[in-house]
Symmetry: C2
Subunit: 340 residues, 2 copies
């Protein structure tokens, strides 16, 4: 298994990415190609000791920044570590790509170089929500606006991913909606409900309201990219808010500061388990080969988790299963409104 890593992508690149790759390389079944500035990457590796036999560096002169126009990656940044990584994947020089770089650029470039499976309308970013019970939320920000057929395709692809790469036997698939009744939501979502309920290749459990997300009532949660993005960032913001609130509560008196000492260990373990470090990056689904988007602010642990996730994705058979399911996507036909 050979994982191509965009060493220059993300807020803490290349340092955190290279460190994460070196950590992931302790698994001798993995071969890791770090794509990026050979001098900088080599220097970080050298500072950590001898380069492991299963880690190589592939030079790329440029890198995509967070400020770059996403389309630029295909025009002015063709020699960026991101574009080079994806072309290597496309040409068979590796089994999966991991990048923590500019999300929009990665989507454009992955769709351009790696391409979507025939029949897939749009490739969604599928994010594992950092909760005690893992929930795969898709789309988490790639494709904005309500589309019935996107919802249906994403539900099927999300189910395949959680089954093959997530180890969930019969994933419970739900639509995120503003109520549980089948007719709830904007017309596009209500239509998606009908189509999903009629499919026999997924375990569709109906609508889920956002208040029930943290309780883990489903394994796959389908929504449009706008709503998905709001959900992920609100969970992040609420997490920060509660941490700050607890800090305030614990710091109020001498007694409460002592009280903090009694829970410090379990509190930190709990908060750590709810951080994105443990969830391992977000697969972009519907592409012909595995691409994992790591969080932009990935530290070394998050980068290592994303690389391991990429290896699981590549060996899971999920890509092949999506390709096998895709012919059914062309059958998607929204039932006509009542009375027409």
């Amino acid at each position: 298994m050979r994982i191509i890593v965009d060493a220059m992508g993300g807020d803490n690149a290349p340092l955190a990415i290279v460190e994460g790759a070196l950590d992931a390389a302790k698994d001798e079944n993995l071969n890791i190609v770090l794509v990026g500035d050979e001098a900088k990457v080599g220097e970080i590796i050298a500072s950590r000791g001898a380069c492991p036999a299963n880690v190589t560096v592939h030079h790329a002169a440029e890198s995509v920044t967070m400020e770059d126009d996403p389309l630029g990656v295909l025009r002015t940044k063709k020699d960026s570590s991101m574009a080079v990584s994806l072309r290597m994947l496309q040409s068979g020089d590796g089994d999966a790509v991991v990048s923590a770089g500019n999300t929009g650029a990665l989507l454009f470039a992955a769709t351009h170089y790696v391409r979507t499976v025939h029949g897939v309308r749009r490739a969604p970013i599928a994010t594992i929500l950092p909760l005690p019970h893992p929930v795969l939320l898709l789309d988490s920000g790639a494709n904005l606006g309500y589309h019935t057929d996107y919802d249906v395709q994403w539900a099927v692809m999300g189910s395949i991913y959680m089954k093959n790469a997530g180890g969930v036997e019969n994933p419970r698939v739900a639509l995120l909606n503003n109520g549980t009744e089948p007719t709830k939501g904007v017309p596009e979502v209500a239509d998606a409900y009908k189509l999903l309920a009629a499919r026999d290749d997924i375990n569709f459990i109906g609508n889920v309201e956002s208040r029930d997300i943290p309780a883990g009532v489903c394994d796959v949660l389908v929504t449009d990219g706008f709503t998905g993005n709001i959900v992920i960032k609100l969970m992040e913001g609420m997490g920060t808010f509660f941490k700050e609130t607890m800090n305030d509560v614990f710091s109020q008196t001498v007694a409460s500061r002592l009280g903090y000492l009694t829970v410090r260990g379990s509190l930190h373990r709990t908060l750590h388990s709810l951080s994105s470090e443990c969830t391992g990056g977000a697969p972009i689904l519907g592409l012909r080969k595995p691409v994992i988007k790591a969080h932009g602010n990935s530290n070394a642990a998050a980068a290592a988790a994303a690389i391991r996730q990429a290896a699981i994705f590549a060996s899971s058979g999920a890509i092949e299963a999506v390709a096998a399911a895709a012919p059914s996507f062309t059958d998607v036909d929204v039932p006509a409104p009542a009375g027409v």
Copy 2:
């Protein structure tokens, strides 16, 4: 100030609503009319002692249930406490209505009986988010789907409400979006940004991402009813989740159970301040008279807070200010896309 209270609306009606009304009636400047089953309401009042001089009961034979089709309130439930309350408001027999009943029914009935201000396209439900810094989120679920002109009208109405009834001098108005750049979001939201930036009657601060909501970076947050509903319910769900997580953390060892005792007081005060009991119900904006939607599961404290909120709304001048601003709503014209 005469507040009309739908005594039969909500999960805990009539008991919690009547108790809340009796509590609110301690303010002698308020006159409260409880609309509902005279026998049941009278019995609850009698069980609490003599009926205060500023509380009266107006009989209504029926009530709208949570299961009722919202449209039914105008057809088969014309004599319900909700419909009677709104007709009393419309005919001048009171200054504001408070109901914890079926949200959809209240919206239909309020729009039908009380009517929207001329020029207002849709009446949004504006909810004060239960956060240390109050944020008025609108729409929180009344009107689904993206509409540029709704966003613009709601921004102006939300700003007026927070200024007149919320005591915020120069409310910071923001659009909820998936990024802070002006061009972010679905086209309808990006268009709303342009129109809002061009207005001089509001303090528009641009886009806000959901992760920044809890920090109180704005006073008024505008979004469509679908997204707004997801936000409110996710905040609720995350609150429950964190409470349960903290319970787990504190219950793990003898020491941690003792540690809990050191923060119990401040923890409960903090959690209470973040509950909807303190926020006092959600105004439906853009109507010709004040209508407050109390939370469906309101207890007595929440009902009392909603009644006080209704009195503030009715005396705030917000209704008149919206009517004065509404002529500018008809000027709404989305700029043509670049190049057209």
